[in-house]
């Protein structure tokens, strides 16, 4: 009796067609019609103790090779599609990496590609998005829509800068950021759980409120007395012994500020808690079917409250990463839409911490790509280049990832009889 229902899902030929077309574009525009000149892929930084040789290759040759490799992957995908099998996720990832390599090689014809620098900066830029997305996931997994990530990031950024400046202690700054962002989250939690308010409206209002308050304080206070209250500087970069000497991985992952290390640790931790522990099972149950959770004795309101609140404190740390973890001072509306990107990343990552972080890295990468492309080949319209990762993402989401399924009880208030 426990046989599965018949499921007749047609995989279709979307993936091989899209892959094939992108491969063709790569082959023609980055390869055959590509730019001449050698590209040097620098794996090691010039300051590293262990120097690996650079990989040199002709720019257009790289384009051709990449195009052909992409065709091969498209062919593999086609062979799967004929057997009505889905294209495995690793194929999509390899495909993306090959495409990015070709793009980098094309941009840097006659110059070099500092891989460690690009990857490292992408990670640092992605940290606020990753932490914001974690806040979003923790909140949405228990069924509360969190539009207020932007506000939470901004709160964290402001408090981290100001408290660090005044106390001259980054630890206090980080703590203040986490606590105040958690307080912002609590407002969202209480309004949605206790007063059953429309969660999206509460979120939007919180965003506007935080933007207003920080703008006001920035103008009236921070700019007047910048030296004392908005001059925190950035935290020290910590080098983890031995690990930071590994070529490429060392400088990217093991030579960072504490905010980056935290992000690297928190993502697998949240994944683990969510999918392997009792706490996570209960949280997901609350987000999927609160009444069912209630009938087995789980306190729906309390679960939602704590997940949203703790999520808020993580977003606060993401805000701190913007000021004392990167820029060194607070600026007007400096979260600049990262909170909304984090929101998109949550959906893109299908409410999974690992996937969401990968998506956040993609956004970090596209930010640094624009900056770097501008330096390395000034003639190329950078807006166009910046578009590329997003186009790839959209295709990935539509074609490969498939339909994502949000927690069933998302945005639905739970009322007990």
């Amino acid at each position: 009796m426990t046989t599965s229902k018949e499921t007749e899902v047609k995989v279709g030929y979307k993936s091989p067609i899209v892959m094939g077309s992108i491969g063709l574009l790569t082959l023609v525009f980055l390869g055959l019609l590509g730019r001449d000149g050698m590209v040097a892929f620098e794996i090691s930084r010039r300051t590293d103790s262990l120097q690996l040789p650079t990989l040199d290759i002709d720019s257009s040759l790289l384009g051709v090779l990449a195009g052909l490799a992409m065709f091969a992957l498209a062919g593999f995908s086609l062979s799967k599609a004929i057997k009505n099998l889905k294209t495995p996720i690793w194929v999509s990832i390899v495909f993306g990496l090959v495409g990015v390599t070709a793009l980098l090689g094309w941009l840097a014809a006659e110059k070099s590609v500092p891989i460690a620098f690009i990857a490292g900066t992408a990670l640092v830029l992605a940290v606020p998005i990753i932490l914001g997305a974690m806040a979003g996931i923790m909140s949405e997994r228990v069924g509360i829509t969190n539009i207020a990530i932007e506000g939470q990031l901004l709160t964290g950024a402001f408090m981290a800068a100001v408290v660090s400046s005044i106390t001259d202690n980054f630890l206090f700054g980080v703590m203040a950021a986490m606590v105040t962002s958690a307080l912002v989250s609590m407002i969202l939690a209480v309004f949605s759980i206790k007063f059953l308010a429309q969660q999206i409206i509460v979120g939007v209002v919180l965003n506007v409120l935080v933007i207003g308050v920080t703008n006001f304080l920035y103008q009236q206070w921070l700019t007047e007395d910048a030296e004392n209250v908005n001059f925190p500087g950035t935290m020290d970069i910590i080098k983890i012994p031995v690990l930071s000497d590994i070529p490429l991985l060392g400088p990217v992952f093991f030579e960072n500020r504490i905010t980056v290390f935290f992000a690297i640790l928190i993502v697998p931790t949240i994944w683990f808690v969510l999918f392997k522990t009792r706490l996570g099972l209960r949280a997901r149950a609350v987000g999927e079917h609160p009444l069912a959770a209630d009938t087995v004795g789980i306190n729906v309101g309390r679960t939602r409250f704590w997940w949203v609140t703790i999520g808020g404190s993580i977003a606060g740390l993401g805000g701190a990463a913007l000021t004392i973890g990167n820029a060194g001072a607070f600026g007007r509306e400096m979260s600049g839409g990262f909170g909304f990107i984090a929101l998109a990343v949550v959906i893109l990552g299908r409410w999974n911490p690992i996937y969401a972080s990968l998506a956040a890295l993609l956004f970090g990468f596209s930010i640094i790509l624009r900056v770097w492309a501008n330096q390395v080949s000034p003639g190329i319209p950078t807006d166009f280049i910046t578009m590329v990762p997003y186009v790839v993402t959209i295709i990935a989401v539509v074609g490969f990832v498939g339909k994502s399924r949000p927690p069933k009880a998302l945005a639905v208030p739970y009322v007990k009889g």
């Binding site: 149950a285 004795g297 789980i298």
Partner: protein, 501 residues
């Protein structure tokens, strides 16, 4: 364990759902709680389970007064509940669902999934449930999901098991299996409260019967009581359990349906290459357990869903209506009673009169040019309310103030007061009181006798057997057989479970 409910009263605003109810459940007995939909059975059980707090009265277990502030307390006291709408999380596995709330854990709060599976298998084997602990709930058939719910309750050492309308979603065979399980459980000392409105099942399995009407206990009985006596106790007056009807006078073919394949909302084939025809003057019943494509087929016939493939063809009185819009289908003479009157049949914030003109809002007797002819509408509404015996203070009453049966009468009135040649009635008496059921059945028979073609979609076997001239059984999107109405319940049950002769 002896359970006593003493003087339970529960009010929702001005409505009293339970009034001074006393109920005693002895250890190891199967106690049936019999009553119509809306009689207050589920409310009472939710009070017992701690989901609602009683306004008056209290609960005692073995003579000790209990104070349940939530389901957790009720469970701790040994009460397990299988809800009418399953409390299972579709994206979790069986083991996760069973473990939820009392998970076996290792260090760091990590779930010991092996232990959880062991628990499931243990209970599953003890009672012969045949459940795979790794299966996702959404992949399981309803019967299996229900057994998961029972495992869930038993894994918490429930000594009183409350089954809320457990047979509504089951095939007759699954129902028999469930009854066997209930007997086994009772033998092992578990008390069972069996909530239902189906007399046949109560008589088959219960040790004692308590009848509830309008929130009050109106009597108790032994299972050897007369069916008609139980029914009149439940309804409060004599009821006719059989429908009087003349033999069908078959006319010409009205509806021809050929090679219909329809997708459901998840893009799966809900209706798979179905063909049939209906003649004037006959009632064709589409029987089957809920969720085997009946809903999608009805929505397709109305034009709400589009067919797949080029072979699909629907002819109404010789005219093709295959890909017509809903309005065109309605105009060509189709009446439709949807299965869910709350969401599809009525606009519950509209008055009865407004609801009556929903499908004739243009160029009809309700209109005058581009405007509504209010005077005419008032008159027509008043007439229909009388003709269809809608119990309401006035035709300007808002629909959601009416009882389920009267709401359904409004829908029936709207569909039958139009000139139709085909009536599609989808679960026309679901959640309707027995009195209204009688009335609605009479109306459907009257349509048939007037030479109209009728498609009756119902998962209630009693209703199908009472009304149908031919019975088409649907299983997994296909019509697995078209049989005569004198076919035995057992054979129909086999067909409904997909067993073809």
């Amino acid at each position: 364990m002896k359970l006593e409910l003493l003087g339970i009263t529960k009010r929702f605003g001005a409505v009293t759902a339970n009034e001074d109810i006393d109920l005693v459940i002895e250890p190891g007995e199967i106690h049936a709680l019999l009553g119509e939909n809306g009689a207050g059975k589920s409310t009472l059980m939710n009070v017992l389970y701690g989901l609602y707090t009683a306004d008056e009265g209290h609960i005692e277990i073995d003579g000790v007064r209990q104070n349940f502030s939530g389901p957790g307390d009720a469970m701790a006291a040994g009460i397990g509940m299988v809800h009418q709408h399953f409390m299972l999380i579709p994206v979790f596995t069986v083991a996760e669902n069973v473990a939820l709330g009392h998970e076996p854990t290792k260090a760091l709060g990590v779930i010991d999934i092996a232990e959880a599976k062991k628990q499931v298998l243990e209970i599953s084997e003890r009672f012969g449930f045949n459940i795979d602990p790794d299966a996702l709930i959404e992949d399981l058939p309803v019967g299996a999901q229900q057994r998961v719910e029972i495992i869930k309750a038993l894994s918490r050492d429930a000594r009183i098991l409350v089954l809320d309308e457990p047979t509504a979603v089951l095939t007759p065979q699954e129902t028999d299996e469930l009854m066997e399980i209930m007997r086994q459980l009772a033998k092992s000392g578990t008390s069972i409260v069996f909530i239902t409105h189906k007399l046949r099942e109560v008589k088959a399995v219960a040790d004692r019967i308590t009848v509830i009407r309008l929130g009050k206990v109106v009597g108790s009985a032994k299972p050897d009581a007369e069916t008609s006596a139980l029914a009149s106790l439940m309804v409060g007056r004599e009821v006719m359990l059989t429908v009087n009807k003349k033999p069908a006078a078959m006319g010409d073919v009205v509806l021809e349906v050929e090679h219909i394949t329809v997708l459901d909302d998840r893009s799966q084939k809900a209706v798979n290459d179905v063909s049939f025809e209906v003649r004037g003057g006959e009632i064709l019943a589409l029987a089957g357990v809920q969720g085997n494509g009946q809903t999608e087929l009805a929505e397709f016939l109305l034009g709400l869903r589009k067919p797949m493939g080029s072979k699909a063809k629907v002819n109404l009185n010789g005219k093709e209506i295959t890909n017509k819009s809903v309005r065109e289908v309605l105009e060509s003479g189709v009446g439709f009673i949807p299965e869910d009157r709350q969401s599809d049949g009525l606009v519950s914030e509209f008055t009865i009169a407004e609801n009556l003109m929903l499908n004739s809002s243009y160029k009809s007797r309700f209109t005058k040019g581009l405007n509504i002819n209010f005077a005419a509408r008032k008159l027509i509404a008043k007439e229909l309310v009388e003709q269809f015996d809608v119990r309401t203070p006035s035709s300007e009453t808002v629909a959601n103030k009416l009882s389920g049966g009267n709401q359904q009468k409004v829908v029936v009135a709207r569909e039958l007061s139009r000139e139709v040649i085909l009536l599609i009635a989808s679960q026309p008496t679901r959640g309707v009181d027995v009195g209204s059921i009688e009335f609605i059945h009479e109306q459907i028979i009257a349509e048939r006798d007037a030479g109209k073609a009728v498609i009756l979609i119902s998962s209630e076997l009693d209703e199908v057997l009472a009304l149908a001239d031919r019975i088409a059984v649907m299983y997994r999107g296909k019509i697995v057989g078209i049989v005569e109405p004198n076919t035995s319940r057992e054979d129909l049950g086999k067909l409904m479970a997909g067993v073809t002769a």
